[in-house]
């Protein structure tokens, strides 16, 4: 492989994942010990460090995978200069964002808390990816399998929704609280949908390549689910704000179509696994394990999503840890398992001696999934308790409610450490191989 930049994206992604989990553990400690690191890194700095690192992992791994697969499977001649420029832009932007958070310089809205000017290099990066993708692939678009449509859609919609998330800079949005919060959550819901297009596209790509059968990405069913997913991305975001007094038609529309996105991938993976010959499965046991884990996590989060997409239930779950269980269950359980499978697949391509059956990987995989289940359940328990406090108790102080959740937070923290250990066991050998391949 001549152009190693794709591998550098994956290396940076894995480092962001490790840092994200570390900041997550430290944030969890602050729930239990309010004075812990309060003077050095209070929670309002720790939380964005955690969230940004983990989101960076998803973006960097998805982008790195896209570059790698384009050059390896499409034999596309990526511009080394543009790809390297993209990497340097993201590396420097990431460092600038960390610098802002460490020194307490904010200015943005939730999940994009950094000073607004830093969205410009992020957008530039997406446009660099888009320019290369469309330059190399548009000529073949009439024969694109569904995953190429998904990657194209993910890139275009990511640019659109990131721009949309900064409409609050315009006075006509900033001066109206409800409109501003509505557009904030519209764009937020949809840029998550956009990166999901990239990640789910990667999952289908992997299935097709492991099975050595491209028909999985070309079936009528695959395209039906793709368009259903796209409809969700566009119109299915308002479950985040059912309780905010926005226009009722927006919420009605969203109620009708929201959260079917999970059904899409479940159906596709289920169909794929059923027909997978065992001889081919044995070729990528670790990648397959992660994709099989995706199945389970989609199922659990699908159940949760269906339940709280009903406004009457959402009314009680909104603003509680049940929402966090869904978002963390999805980013860790679904996005991370797919992207881990992708990194394992890439590593197995660049290092023919890579042994996916090492006991260390199996141990890490088991610790990761077991811990994530406990983590997820502890959040559900905390959410149920908080909802009970909100709607069925009167006069109990917020601090008393938080104290009563102490045991949930203890379990949550221990399980979070378990997730870290599990992924650490898998990540470090992958990082070593990637670094060696890059000559570092």
């Amino acid at each position: 492989m001549k152009n190693k930049t794709a591998l550098w994206f994956l290396i940076l992604g894995l480092i962001a994942l490790l840092l994200g989990m570390l900041f997550g553990i430290l944030s969890g400690m602050q729930y239990l010990l309010p004075d812990f690191l309060k003077a050095l890194l209070p929670f309002n700095q720790m939380r964005p460090l955690h969230v940004t690192s983990v989101l960076s992992w998803i973006i960097l791994a998805a982008v790195g995978g896209t570059y790698f697969y384009l050059s390896e499977f499409e034999k596309a001649s990526l511009s080394k200069r543009l790809t390297s420029f993209h990497f340097v832009v993201y590396l420097l932007t990431g460092l600038a964002i960390y610098g802002c958070y460490f020194t307490g310089h904010f200015g943005g809205k939730e999940y994009l808390e950094f000073p607004p000017v830093l969205i410009l290099p992020i957008l530039l990066g997406w446009m660099l990816l888009g320019s290369q993708y469309f330059r190399l692939m548009i000529g073949k678009c009439k024969t694109w399998p569904v995953y190429y449509w998904m990657w194209a859609t993910g890139i275009v919609f990511m640019v659109y929704h990131l721009c949309e998330s900064y409409l609050w800079l315009l006075p006509s949005f900033r001066e109206h609280f409800i409109k501003s919060i509505e557009v904030q959550w519209k764009s937020g819901g949809s840029y998550v949908g956009s990166w999901n297009m990239l990640v789910y596209g990667t999952a289908i790509f992997l299935m097709a390549k492991i099975k050595a059968d491209d028909s999985i990405g070309r079936s009528r069913q695959a395209f039906f689910f793709y368009f259903l997913g796209l409809t969700n991305l566009m119109f299915g975001w308002a479950h985040h704000i059912y309780i905010v007094p926005t226009a009722a038609w927006v919420r009605y529309l969203s109620y009708g179509i929201s959260m079917t996105e999970w059904v899409i991938l479940l159906q596709m993976i289920y169909t794929w696994r059923k027909s997978l010959p065992t001889t081919i499965v044995s070729g990528h046991p670790l990648a397959l394990k992660f994709l099989a884990a995706t199945d389970v996590w989609i199922f659990l989060n699908l159940l949760l999503a269906i339940v709280f997409s009903i406004p009457a239930i959402n009314f009680f779950t909104h603003g509680t840890h049940i929402t966090v269980a869904h978002s963390m269950g999805s980013t860790i359980g679904i996005n991370t398992t797919i992207l881990m499978a992708s990194v394992v697949f890439v590593v197995s391509r660049i290092d023919p001696d890579f042994d996916e059956k090492k006991p260390r990987f199996l141990l890490g995989f088991r610790i990761f999934n077991g811990s994530l289940l406990i983590f997820w359940l502890s959040l559900l328990a905390a959410g149920i308790q908080k909802s009970h406090w909100m709607y069925f108790t009167k006069g109990t102080a917020f601090s008393s409610m938080q104290d009563s959740l102490h045991w949930c937070y203890c379990i949550f923290l221990i399980a979070g450490i378990g997730i870290f250990i599990g992924l650490y066991l898998v990540t470090i050998p992958l990082l070593k191989i990637l670094l060696k391949a890059c000559g570092a």
Binding site: K142, F177, K179, L230, V244
Partner: protein
């Protein structure tokens, strides 16, 4: 031939979705809801401070934000809290809340912002009506 027909169908669906999406976005961006109020310059300054200090990482508005601190949607009109109590909290901190050093002008701006948010609705909405079809009619101020 079959692939070209498939591509044409996909392109047509995509064009239709994008067209509907454009109209949908235009309506959302241009529509004003009854509950929305125009923030005064002082409240806009408060909103800027809210973002500059990343208050949202611990506090929620309409249940959106971090869970380390309480939701502040209706704290301004809360008979047990209210403006004086909030003002005292700003620079005193608490068990988890860092001590800030807001000036009087900044405190007033933050209060004006919380007051404006308070006027838009209720959270938690104890007067909301849950219907048999699963829909929830939220109450307005």
């Amino acid at each position: 031939m079959k692939q070209i027909a498939k591509w044409k169908r996909s392109a047509a669906i995509m064009a239709m979705l994008v067209a509907v999406f454009s109209v949908y976005n235009y309506r959302i961006y241009s529509e004003m809801v009854a509950a929305d109020t125009t923030l005064c310059p002082e409240a806009i300054h408060g909103q800027e401070l809210w973002q500059q200090y990343n208050c949202n990482s611990c506090h929620q508005l309409y249940g959106l934000g971090g869970y380390l601190g309480p939701d502040l949607t209706n704290i301004y009109s809360d008979p047990n809290k209210g403006p004086e109590c909030i003002k005292a909290m700003f620079n005193a901190g608490s068990r988890s809340m860092p001590v800030f050093h807001f000036s009087e002008t900044e405190k007033k701006a933050l209060l004006a912002y919380l007051n404006a948010v308070d006027q838009t609705g209720y959270y938690p909405d104890y007067k909301a009506k849950i219907e048999t079809n699963g829909w929830v009619n939220i109450s307005s101020k």
